[in-house]
Subunit: 324 residues, 2 copies
C-alpha cells in the first residue's frame, strides 16, 4: 500500500520543492521518498513512489495533476476512435524514469528490504481514462460498460497488454515483488467484474508466470469474491478493510498469502487501541506464515506519524507468536 | 429505493417551482412526486419522497440544501457537548409534514399500491451529523469512532431512539412498510459494523416488533455479512448491486425476503440488455415468492426514463415464471 506521502514531514520537505509529477518522473527524488518509510518507520518492504496513471500517460494521454483535484487527463477516452489512438508502450523509453527509480531505490536500500513495483489493473485504469479524472463512482466508464461493452473491452485488453509490459520491465529493473491495484473493482457487480475485471487480471498474471517474483493482487471492494480472486494467479491477495480477514483465510486456506487489512483510519486511534486492532487482525488470520501485516488501503495524507509507527511496532511485536 | 427524482420530467416540472426542502416539507408536493413513479412507471409500490436527514434536523440541526453540493448542516456534531444538545424528537410536531405527506399519499394512491416509509440508520445519520455534509468516506465520523468511541456510541444510541419514534409514527400515519437505509454501512470494517452499525439496527427493529408492517433493511456495502443482516429482525434485506443475489439467497434461504439488486447504471443500457440483466437477476434469486425486483441503489438523476420503464416491464414479464 502507499507508504510514502504527505503524512511524512520528510516527504513534505521534498514536495515543497517539486511538484507531484516531477517527483515521480525524477528517479533520484522518487527513490528518496520511496526509501523514507523504510528509514523512518522501519517497515519490511518499500513500495515504489509512483502513480498508476503513468501507464495511460505512456499510452499517449496527457496527464496533469493539481493538489485540489488530483490527477486528470486532458482528453478522456469516450469512444472507439479514442481507444484506437492509444499507443502500445515501450517501457524502456516512455517509462524509463520509473525503471531508473527502481534501480536507484534498490541501490539505496542495499538489500535492507525488498522493493515492490506495481501497476493499476485494467478496469481501474480504464475507468480513469474514460472519466478523465478521479471519480468515486466511475459513472462514465460504467455507462460505457452498459452501452458499448465492445469498446470498453478493447480498452481493457489494450491496457492489459501495456500493464504486462510495464510489470515485466519493473521486475527486470529489480523489483522484488509486483502488485496490481484494482482500486475501483468494487464499483462493479460480481457479474460485471467477472467480465470486465478478472479475465484481464488473469491474463496479466498468466503472462508474467515466468517471472520468479511474488505477485500481489488488490481488488478493493470485491472481498466477497475472495475464492475467485485467489484463483486468478497471484501469490498474495491484498484485502481491503471491509473484508473479514478470518473468513477470507478460511475460504482460501494456504493457497495464497493474504495481506492486510486494517482500516487506515485506525492510525488515528491512540497507540493502545491500534495495538488491540493489530492483535485482532493477527488473530483473525491465525497461525501460519502466509500473512503480510498491512493496512486495507493506503496511509491517509493526514495520518499521524506516531499512529503509523505504533502500527508497525505492534505488527513487529505481536506477529512472531503466530508464526510458530 | 429512491424513485421520485430528477430523471422524471414531471418531477422537474414541480422542482422548477420549489426548492428541494420545500418539496419535502410541503405534504401536497411530497405526495404528488411520491405518486409520480406509480403513475408514470407502473411500479408496485411507492416510497415516500423525503430525505434521511429530516431526523437530524428534527433533533435540532440546521439543514440546508444546495443543488451543487447536496445537503449540509450548519454545525456538525464533533464532540460530546454537541451530542448532549441534540433533542429527543416528537414526530407529530417536528416531522408532522412527513406524516401528513404519508396520509395524503395514501389517499391519492387509493389502494393502488402500498406506500413505503423510511428512515436512515443510526450509523449513516451519525456520519452525516459528524461530517456536516455528504461524504463518500465519512472521514470525521470514522475518526471519532477510533478516537472517541464513547461519544459516537451516545450519538448512535440517541439517533436510534429518534428513528424508532419516527418509524413508529410513519406506520401510524399509514405507511405499509418501513425501510431502514444504512447507505454508508460499507465504510466500516466488519468488526466496527458489528459494534457501531448492527446493534443499533437490531434495537430499532426489536422496538418495532409490535408493528405489523414489513421492515426492510438496506446495509449498502455489507453484503458479505448477509447472514448476520438476515438475523437483525427485518423481514426483507435490500441488497446493493455488488452483492451476488444467488449467493445471498443460498446463505439466507427463505428466512427473509431479498430485494434488489441491479446496478442503477444498467438503466443506461439498451432495452434488450436491461431485459437480459433482469432475467439474470431473477435467475440468480431462483424460484420462490420472497424476491422484490429492484435496483441495488436509487435511480440516478440522469437515468433515461425509457430505461426505467424497460426495467419495470422486464420484471413484470419475466418474474411470474419464478413464482410458481
Amino acid at each position: 500500500m502507499r507508504q510514502a506521502g504527505r503524512y511524512l514531514p520528510e516527504y513534505q520537505a521534498v514536495r515543497k520543492k517539486h511538484d507531484f509529477l516531477t517527483m515521480i518522473r525524477t528517479p533520484a527524488l522518487a527513490a528518496e521518498v520511496t526509501c523514507q518509510p523504510v528509514e523512518i518507520l522501519g517497515v519490511d518492504a518499500a513500495i515504489l513512489f509512483s502513480d498508476i496513471l503513468v501507464v495511460p500517460e505512456a499510452m499517449g494521454m496527457t496527464l496533469s495533476y493539481r493538489d485540489a483535484e488530483g490527477p486528470s487527463f486532458a482528453a478522456p477516452v469516450r469512444d472507439a476512435s479514442a481507444v484506437g489512438r492509444l499507443r502500445r508502450i515501450d517501457p524502456s523509453v516512455s517509462l524509463a524514469y520509473a525503471l531508473e527509480a527502481i534501480a536507484l531505490t534498490k541501490q539505496r536500500l542495499g538489500g535492507r528490504t525488498p522493493l515492490i513495483g506495481f501497476a493499476g489493473a485494467p478496469w481501474t485504469l480504464a475507468a480513469f481514462m474514460v472519466e478523465g479524472k478521479s471519480s468515486h463512482d466511475a459513472r462514465e466508464a460504467r455507462r460505457m460498460m452498459y452501452r458499448d461493452p465492445g469498446t470498453l473491452t478493447r480498452l481493457l485488453d489494450e491496457t492489459a497488454e501495456n500493464v504486462i509490459l510495464f510489470l515485466r520491465a519493473q521486475a527486470a529493473a529489480g523489483a522484488d515483488a509486483l502488485q496490481i491495484f484494482d482500486t475501483l473493482a468494487g464499483l462493479l457487480a460480481p457479474e460485471d467484474y467477472r467480465r470486465f475485471g478478472l479475465p484481464q487480471i488473469r491474463h496479466i498474471l498468466a503472462s508474467l508466470r515466468d517471472i520468479p517474483v511474488p505477485k500481489i493482487l488488490f481488488a478493493k471492494g470485491q472481498g466477497s469474491m475472495v475464492e475467485e480472486l485467489a484463483a486468478a494467479g497471484a501469490d498474495c491477495l491484498s484485502l481491503d478493510w471491509q473484508t473479514d480477514l478470518g473468513a477470507a483465510r478460511r475460504a482460501v486456506g494456504d493457497r495464497v498469502a493474504l495481506q492486510g487489512n486494517l482500516d487506515p483510519m485506525t492510525l488515528f486511534a491512540p497507540p493502545e487501541r491500534i495495538r488491540e486492532r493489530v492483535g485482532a487482525m493477527l488473530q483473525g488470520y491465525g497461525k501460519g506464515s502466509g500473512h503480510v501485516g498491512n493496512l486495507g488501503h493506503g496511509v491517509l495524507p493526514d495520518a499521524p506519524v506516531d499512529g503509523v509507527k505504533a502500527f508497525v511496532q505492534a505488527v513487529r511485536e505481536l506477529s512472531p507468536s503466530f508464526h510458530s
